[in-house]
Structures are given as C-alpha cells and as structure tokens.
C-alpha cells in the first residue's frame, strides 16, 4: 500500500480538463516527492513540454476530448522527440499503433497501481538517461 518516495524530484505534467482529477493526481504525486505542473488544454501542454521539460506526462484522453486530433498529435510527437513518456488515461479505444513513448491505462483505474506505473516509467527513464 505504502509507496516509497521517489529518489529524485521528478517533474510531472498533468493534462486533464477536470480540476478534481488534476488535484487528486497532483496531491498523490507530490506526496511521493514529485513536482507537478497542471494544464487543462492539450495545446498549452505542448508549450509546457518545451518550456518546462517534464520527466513524464499524464494525459487524460477523454477529458481532453475537446482538443483537436492535431493538437494531440503535436503533443505525442513532441514527447516522442524528447523521449518523454506519456501515460494516456482513457477508455478501451487505444491507438492501434501507439508511439514507443505512449503507455495506455484504461479507465476506471486504481490510483495505487497508476502511481507505481508512473514510478517505474520514471526509473526506466532515469536509467536510460544515466547511461
């Protein structure tokens, strides 16, 4: 149950139009020692990705449904270029060919396993960077 704290202080970008959902995830990640950046819009997420260089993105695919597919594609490509993992939260309709940096989590999910998934992706990214 108890999640160990992250060894470093990673920066995580949360993209979700729901204030409540952003608040829950942000609270949980900050408890683990992460720094969080929040936005409700996909377009501003792409800008934040370039400016703030987060270590990981959590992207709610459903609540960001108002975003255009081009905006989503731009974010995916930008993340892929910077090798930033994206955890996509959505329904079962996952992309047929997701980019290597995309990781899909089906709703409704449990927060414990989600946080552990994020930790494990951050560890892999840390190890890759150290090499």
């Amino acid at each position: 149950m108890e999640i160990r704290r992250l060894s470093t202080s990673p920066r995580i970008l949360i993209v979700d139009s729901s204030v409540e959902a952003r608040d829950i995830l942000s609270t949980l990640l900050r408890r683990q020692g992460a720094e969080t950046i929040e936005t409700a819009h996909t377009a501003s997420a792409t800008a934040l990705l370039q400016q703030q260089e987060p270590d990981l993105i959590v992207y709610d695919d459903e609540s960001a449904s108002s975003s255009s597919s081009q905006e989503k594609l731009d974010l995916s490509r930008s993340a892929s270029r910077s090798a930033t993992p994206i955890v996509v939260l959505g329904t079962g309709k996952r992309q047929i060919r997701p980019l290597p940096t995309e990781h899909f989590v089906t709703k409704p999910y449990h927060y414990g396993p989600l946080i552990r998934r994020i930790e494990s992706l951050l560890e892999i990214r840390g190890a890759t960077r150290d090499r």
Partner: protein
Amino acid sequence: MPSLFVIQGSDQGTRFLLEEPVHSIGRTQNNSVRLHDTEISRAHAELFLRGKNYVLRDMGSSNGTFVNGQAATEHELVSGDQIQIGKSLLLYTGFVEEASENLADKIDIVARAAQNDESRIVAALSHSEGSEWLMPEAGESSNPWIARARSNLQIMYRTALAVSHTMDIDQLLARIMEMIFDWVDADRGCIMLKDNQADKLVPKVRRHRRGVRSDEKITISKTILDYVVEHNEGVLTSDARDDKRWDPAQSIVKLGVREAICVPMQGRYNMVGVIYIDTSITPQRMLLNEGKADQFTEEHLRLMIAIAHQAALAIEDTSYYKAMVQAERLAAVGQTIASLSHHIKNILQGVRGGSYLIELGLGDHEGVAGLDDSDDEKAAKAVDTIRKGWKIVERNQQRISSLVMDMLTFSKERQPEPKPSDLNEVAGEVAELMQSRAGELGVELQWLPADEMPILMFDPEAMHSAILNVITNALDACEEAEIGKVTVQAKYDHDSKMARLEIQDNGAGIAPDDLESIFNVFVSHKGGRGTGLGLPVSQKILEEHGGKITVDSNIDAGSRFTLEFPANPQAAAHEPSEAQAGPTLASADLASPDLASADLSDLSDTSSP
C-alpha cells in the same frame, strides 16, 4: 444518376453509380461493378450507354444473365428492371427525365373569390366508400362479365384499403382471408408465412366456410406447396390425376383435394409466404352444379395472385418498418448505456481518488500515533489528507445522487405538483446552497431577488432542481475564468405575467455549433463532469410549467440562461402569507371569475384565518 442497387446476394445494400459510358460486371477486382458472388463469372456482363439508356450485355457467362426473370444476351434497360446474375439480384434505376417545363408556372392554385370561379362541390366521397360504386346494384341486369369484373375490381380495391390500414401483420392476414372468403366459395383456407431462419412455412391464419366443421384439420399437399415455393407460381388444381406435373406424388389424390388454389406471396424483394384455399365438391354438389366441378377458375387464380402480391408488399413494408424501429430503439438504448457508463465511470474515478486519499491519510495518522513523541504537524497533515479525500468522495456521492434524480425526473411521466410558491424564495435557497461550491471554484455567486414577485403556482421542488442544474453549469463554466462571476436575478413582468430567472456567467461561453445540442439528452460539453441530463431535465420542468429556457451565449464572454414561465392566475386568489414580502397578483388580473372562485375554495384551508 443511373445506378444498380443490390437487392439480394452477398453485396446486398450496395449501390453502384453508373457514371461511365461502359461498366463491366463480374466477380474480379478489375470490374467497375464487382460482386462477391462465386456463381458470377470473372467477366460476366457489361453495361454500355446507348442514347439515354444503358444496355446490358451478357459476356458469355457460365450461369447466364436474366432480366426480370428472362434470360438475356442483350437487353436495353429501363428503370425498375431487375437483373439476376448468379445469386445476386440487382435493381436498375435509369436517368431521371428532366422536366421540360416548370410545372409550378403552369399550375395555379388560386383563391376562389379572386378568379370568379363558379365551381362547386357536387359530390364528395371518402376513400373508404370509394369501392361502393363497384358493387353490382340489386336487380341489375348487366352483362355477367362486367358484373364479375366489377366484383374483382372491388376486391382489389378492398385489399388495397386493408393493406393501407393496418401495421399489424396478423390482423392484416385475417382481414385478407376474410375478404377472400367473401368473394370465393372456398371451404378452407390458410395463409402461411415464410420463416427465413427455420426455412419453412409457418401457418398464420386459417379459415373455414360457414357450415364446414372448423375443428377439421386443413391438410395441404406438400407437392403443391413445394411447387409454388420452388417455381414462385400460383397453381390451380382441379383434378390432379389429369395433371402430369403431379405424377411423381399422388398426395393430392390420396388427400381427396378436388380443387385448390395456392399462390405465392411475392413481395418487392422476396417471397414472403403462400395463400391457400380449397374446396371439396361432393357428388351431391356436382349434381346440383350440372356435373361441373370447376368451382375455381383461372380468373380466381389471377386475382388471388394479385391479392397475394398486395399482401406481400404490405408485409414487407411492415417488417422493414418494424426492423427499422427496432434498430433505432437498440441504437438509442446503446447510446444511453454508453453515456451513463461514461458518467458513472467518471464519478467512480473521483470516488476512487477520494478513497485512496482517505486510505493514505489514515495510514499516515496511524504511523504518527504509533510514535512515542507524536508529531502534531504530521498528524494535522494526515487529517488534512483524510478531509480532502472525504470532500472528493462526498462531492461524487452528490453527483451520483443528482444523476439518479435527473434520470428519474427525465424518465418518469411525472406531472408537476403546483402549489402557491415564491420564486424569490426557491431561487434564493438554491443560490445559498451553491455558495459553498462557488467558493471552492473561486467564483463569485450573486443573488438578486425580484423587487416584486407575486405568489405563483408552480412545483417548488421541480423548479428547485431546474434552477440548481442551470446554476451548477454556470459555476462550472467559470472554472477557468480569471475572476469568475455568476449572477442570478429574478424578475416578474406584470404586462406579460411572466416570471423570469436570469443566470448570467462570465465563463467560456458556448460555441454557436454547440448551442443547438445543449438541450439534447446525454449531450454534455463539460467533459467528464457533465451527465448530459441537467439541461434537458431543466427544460422539461420549465415546459411542464408552460415555460421554456432560452440561452444567449458568446465565446469567451459568457452565457445567459433565462428560465421563464407564465404566472398561473389561480394563484391570485391566494392571500399572501405574513412572510411574503412581495405583492400578490390583484384579483383584477384574473382571466376568469370561475377560476378565481375555484381557487378560493381550494385554498380556503390555508388562506382563511
């Protein structure tokens, strides 16, 4: 544009537009009309344009090409022609003849007075009476052929009426059977419809002539049925022993059927069933009939085929209509389930988040309590986490409760329960209730009651829900505004006697394209937060009160929702309570003195001291 529409076969439902002067038909990819039918040759036939019509030409196919059931090597097509190739049946539609003149200019519909039109109606006839003139008049000594023709025409007319009057197949079949028995001297009859799944004929209606034992089983020769189904032809059997077609099976003879008519019910696309009638002619009847046994004639057969065709068309129509209704119903149920699942899933996600925070907070608290030197700051932090989690759970519990209430309001045939109520009071309660939510979102919620608001007849609980939904939306719309503000203002217009509640926000506004759909059920533009039921439910409540909700919105400037409903004049008879600050409607406003007196008696218990 000319086209080929596949009525039957693997490609059923496909339409091929004929845009080129030449089209090839076959089963391989290089054909412009490609059919996935193994009984079709690679290059089976071709269509080429000759003048304004396409000509169909068989290209030496193995299984041949047929137009309207006839083998064809080359055939100039006309609209409505059916082309059979392999197992596929195609319907050809040709060029539409362009109107050479504008008929609207050639036909004038004018007011009588304007044109000195002296025409007057000299006779009128309802369409149900239209066949009456076909009835041979009593004592009429006209030619028997004409009498028979009139009788035949009448039965066709009545069949056409019957098929146009009912959507119930069983009822329709019973009516048709009844008409057949009125017209022909048959002993027994039945209608059987084809069960496509079981691939067999299922009896639907049976009928016996008056005087014939109705418990007697109707025995139908399988030989006849098989012939009718296989050849799609109507048959008249009067003496089986003389008819070579029945040689292989002697059932007709054995069963003693002397005369029978069995016709296929051929619809537009398929054979849907058969109609069967028979009669047994006893030696006594033969003697009375001067030795003739031909109770049924070819004329009967022809007419039965026509009747069966009409009935088949109606059955096909009804079946397609039912299938369409069912498909639409299933689609609506599917959409409802998908939409509800989506909202419940989002609520569940919130509950899970809140519960997880509570669980973490409790763990933290237990950890602190176990220490000898308890850390007050850590303990307070743990309680904060629990409190935060609990708030989220509570909010989502409220959401599911609202969803359930909205679903109940929307689904049940609920009649409003109007009683003398104060709109200022009801709207004020909602505004107060929503202050905490506004505070959480950092939105200012301003409530401006009307200076003069009479006591009105409305259902206060329903109106409370309607207002709550609209204010909730307004607050949500301001979530991302820099300084969000929602103003709720009540008004009463004495001239139009309309009560109004304006809810204005400075939120994101609604896109013009979305405005049309905001009152549609399960349409939400609030992402995961909206149920898509709030506004339809509010609109329904206002409509039940004879009112409506209107919306005026501009992107980035905000929206104004106006809830308005007419004042019920009956309320004027109600004396104001002491708590009521505003004036009531004057009795002079009453539209009807009867209403006033009725209302006074109704309210006497509450308004009299």
